[in-house]
């Protein structure tokens, strides 16, 4: 579909949010609490923060929440009754203010969740979600989207991409059918394109490495000593994985009260020591270096090989969230130059 250019005034964006809410849609937008920015439901645009490079928490929860019910069960006298989570209750959702890199992140998630077996929970949530992205006018030292074939104004993955242009109004690029539908239902808020030069308003994100060189190198680096060297200071928490927009590893757990309960899927991290522990006590990834290697290679070797997609979008969240300054792009540069 051809991208259609429109203009939306800042005030109109607020009215659009009000209309979406009036239609019963959940609008998730960046909200700031201290220095941390989350995607949370908003009622009016005033609640939305614009003061962020990338949000602390990625928008992946829109389609892959930190805890998600798979099924409910009940142990009764006549045996066990269970039913899968009906996905019809998932709300129509609009994610406003995600970055172009974030939108690309759903490619990685989709590749994983649809690898042969199609994951209904994820797909049904995603199908009900519309993404209104906002291009990046600035970046910081952790950003490296341009190194993984992204860009601060990339339209891929968003349904509508807004770019703040002169005077604070937004250039609105209507990218997908979903975007078009939304733009039509709120057509009074979209005006004719002013012809602004989008590129002029985008951040300049330097390219740190060439991903096409990196991937083949990563594929041959399993035995490399870099993993131990890089990961000595890693303390094995899951902060990087939990803020990552493409990390999809999960755990499945049963939670019960009395005779009733539910089976839940919740986020997990390959960085945790017990992630791969066998019941026998044997652990294939006994040490942190093996776990760090798994994290990097999963994104830059295994996913490209098996799913034809690089599992990283260069948002830099992992490095910002890391309590011990494990800087991913720096390590990738090392690897690419090794």
């Amino acid at each position: 579909m051809d991208i259609e250019r429109k203009l939306i005034k800042r005030a109109s964006l607020g009215k659009l949010v009000e209309q979406l809410r009036a239609e019963g849609k959940v609008v998730l937008a960046p909200k700031k609490k201290k220095n941390v920015v989350f995607f949370e439901p908003i009622n009016t645009i005033d609640e939305m923060s614009t003061d962020y490079i990338a949000t602390t928490q990625s928008p992946k929860a829109a389609a892959f929440p930190k805890s998600d019910r798979i099924l409910k069960f009940e142990n009764g006298k006549e045996g066990i009754k269970f039913e899968g989570q009906p996905t019809s209750v998932y709300p129509e959702t609009v994610v406003l203010g995600l970055r172009p890199c974030d939108a690309t992140g759903f490619d990685s998630l989709t590749a994983i969740f649809n690898w042969d077996y199609k994951d209904q929970l994820y797909n049904d949530r995603l199908a009900k979600t519309t993404f209104i992205g906002i291009s990046c006018a600035s970046c910081d030292a952790y950003c490296f989207c341009t190194s993984v074939k992204g860009g601060p104004g990339n339209t891929h993955g968003t349904d509508i991409l807004l770019t703040a242009v002169d005077g604070g109004d937004f250039l609105a690029e209507i990218v997908s059918e979903k975007g078009k539908k939304l733009a039509v239902s709120g057509q009074q808020y979209f005006e004719a394109d002013s012809g602004a030069d989008k590129e002029k308003f985008l951040a300049n994100v330097p390219v740190k490495f060439d991903v096409d060189t990196l991937v083949p190198k990563a594929q041959n680096s399993f035995e490399s000593p870099v993993w131990l060297e890089q990961s000595l200071r890693c303390i094995g928490c899951g902060a990087c994985a939990y803020v990552c927009p493409t990390c999809a590893c999960f755990d499945m757990q049963d939670e019960t009260t009395g005779s009733k309960g539910q089976r839940v899927r919740c986020w997990d991290s390959c960085g945790f020591g017990l992630f791969t522990l066998h019941t026998s006590g044997h652990n294939p990834r006994e040490v942190q270096s093996a776990r760090w290697r798994q994290r990097v290679l999963h994104k830059f070797s295994y996913m490209p090989e098996r799913l034809n997609v690089v599992g990283c979008i260069g948002c830099g969240r992992c490095s910002r969230a890391c309590p011990v300054d494990m800087n991913l792009s720096e390590h990738l540069v090392n690897l690419a130059e090794a």
Partner: protein, 267 residues
């Protein structure tokens, strides 16, 4: 800083240690832990105001534990962690060389645990004023306000366990949240599960926390969880007169008792 580098270099050259756990330059003005294992790498060691991470956490890390003799750049919180962990029989004195750093940022000569105890006895290490102010603010709240405060603070927690990973005292190979027969604490990060996790983690640090504040600093969501253990160190001090991390052979507060322990609530 030159003193530090020189001492580290000497230690590695004389093979008195196999590794130095210290601070180096990180990215974008950040500081990170570095692990020089060759004398020439000691030039990368730094020490300044930005060096706040409690490096004692690495003494418990599998890969580093197995490097046998280690030197560690230890600020006062790190020294206290070392003594505390040693009192729990997790560290041997002869495997460690301390490169002590005083409050003025200068190298202090700490030849052993005894010297460390003596040095710490001369130091002042209360809870920092800003944290103290928040503690008093919470104390002054009504019970309902405190409940709302913590509910609000803990609700974003997604259980990445950075607080646990950053803590030198959280060295269990299997934490109570990972004990699953039965499963006590919910794995999923839900409201009450987050309460249970943080309160019980704090309890497991009762009489052991040395107020380095790493847990709060490590939290990617800026949840002030360190306040829980800070409050508890105050309580342990009030009730039992004990301060953690001052002696290498101090019995644990909660596995000992006194006949005269005074409470007012048992009927």
């Amino acid at each position: 800083m030159d003193d530090l580098r020189k001492k580290a270099k000497d230690l590695l050259e004389s093979q008195a240690v196999n590794v130095i756990i210290g601070y180096g330059e990180g990215t974008s003005g950040a500081v990170r832990a570095i692990f020089p294992r060759k004398a020439e790498e000691t030039d990368k060691l730094i020490y300044d105001d930005r060096c706040t991470q409690n490096l004692a956490v690495y003494l418990m890390k599998h890969e580093i534990k197995h490097m046998e003799k280690k030197g560690i750049v230890a600020t006062i919180p790190a020294m206290r962690s070392i003594l505390q962990v040693a009192s729990e029989y997790q560290l041997k004195e002869d495997e460690l060389v301390i490169l002590g750093i005083g409050p003025d940022g200068k190298l202090v000569d700490i030849p052993g645990f005894k010297a460390m105890e003596d040095y710490l006895a001369t130091q002042d290490f209360g809870i920092q004023e800003d944290d103290k102010a928040i503690l008093r603010k919470i104390d002054a709240m009504s019970m309902e306000e405190r409940w709302s405060f913590w509910k609000d603070e803990l609700s974003p927690c997604f259980k990445c366990y950075a607080c646990r990973a950053a803590c030198p005292m959280c060295y269990c190979t299997r934490c109570f949240v990972e004990v699953n027969t039965p499963q006590w604490i919910p794995i999923s990060a839900n409201e009450i599960g987050n309460f249970e996790w943080h309160l019980l983690r704090a309890m497991h640090l009762a009489g052991r926390c040395i107020n380095c504040g790493e847990c709060g600093r490590a939290c990617p969501l800026e949840i002030p969880i360190h306040l829980l253990t800070y409050k508890m160190t105050e309580d342990v001090q009030t009730d039992f007169g004990v301060t953690a991390g001052l002696k290498a052979d101090m019995p644990s507060v909660l596995s000992t008792y006194k006949l005269e322990d005074k409470e007012t609530f048992i009927r």
